[in-house]
Symmetry: C2
Subunit: 239 residues, 2 copies
Amino acid sequence: MANEWFTGWRHVFKLDPDKELTDEALDAICLSGTDAIMVGGSSGVTFENTVDLMSRIRRYEVPCALEVSSMDGAVPGFDGYFIPMVLNTDRAEWILGHQTMGLLEYGTFVPWDETAAEGYIILNGEATAAKLSGANAGLGTQEVIALTRMATRIMKLPVVYFEYSGRFGDMELVRQAAAQAGADSRVFYGGGIDSAERARQAAEAVDTVVVGNVIYTDLDKALSTVAAVKDASYVRRNG
Amino acid sequence: MANEWFTGWRHVFKLDPDKELTDEALDAICLSGTDAIMVGGSSGVTFENTVDLMSRIRRYEVPCALEVSSMDGAVPGFDGYFIPMVLNTDRAEWILGHQTMGLLEYGTFVPWDETAAEGYIILNGEATAAKLSGANAGLGTQEVIALTRMATRIMKLPVVYFEYSGRFGDMELVRQAAAQAGADSRVFYGGGIDSAERARQAAEAVDTVVVGNVIYTDLDKALSTVAAVKDASYVRRNG
């Protein structure tokens, strides 16, 4: 695949600027052996809480990327930037409208080589992001495959992201859809990974496993997902 | 840039399956020295008239690509396939909805390596494609630059296409926006090229110049655009 700054990431911890995390917990996360930290959230993200979290993570060597979901939280100084697009919505402003408005204002400051679109397919209708964006979360396997092919093989988006935020997804659907993604795109999965076993299942289906909420509810379980992902057997599709 | 099957095309003739073209005219077009023939149209395209045109072009060595604007006209046997997406519309079905429905039905038959998205920015509100898709054609230079950056540098679409179908565009706007496209994407221009002089102007602004309607109204003028494009001085942006 294209050699992007996020190529090779198998395990990622996603930290929410709007949630509390002690220094001890952050230390454990950053030294866990995860491939990267992603900073992002669906609500309550501000410039101040994003800067604050970034500067705390910056004391460690782990790569740190920002998911830019509003211009309020667009903070310089990260190693990379993801621009989420929602693919399964009828609201064009969530596909590329808001993002283009952001570029209209801040386009001259964007570090292009470290910035990439994430094509989100949101599959849990109860998720905040689904409600905000009007996502059609009730897609079947064939519809998700078609959208995955459109995103990765036709549009050539750098990342397609299966998002079940808040609950663990249908791994058979995810596995089948991920297998149809183009080789030049990276497939992310996020949602409901609250144990080593679930992390392993996701890691056998997709390129990159994103672990979020469990960090805030059960740190030990969160930390156990790192080794589970690294040890999982996974044969990457070849296009 | 990425080495795609359309990389390096500087001049393209676009033929409409719904329009008449004599064998003599087709012969002149195919032997003109153009880099490729693109087959496509906004209305009246059927399986039958597309197959018919393809088989006539196939007698020549010139590469021949199909722009798939409806599933009715999706015909196998071309060297390559473009999937148009409209970027400046609020109607999500024209961005990626119709295309994904097409893949839902025909996804197993698509030659992925020879298929690529074209991100259309439609800038003539009177064009049939603009009316069909509800395009916001009245964009200013900065808005077109933002959309071009979104399409090529964030989404990484293989092609962005400035479309003025039916009239010659604002070359200063086109030049400025094309200069901000990412190096890995190809920039196409189409619309109102009815003379060597206009072909030269477009060729100085973008990677690939598409000549269409004038084929049907003044063949000699159409043919004169090939040399004009090849001789135009153009320094490609480097990202």
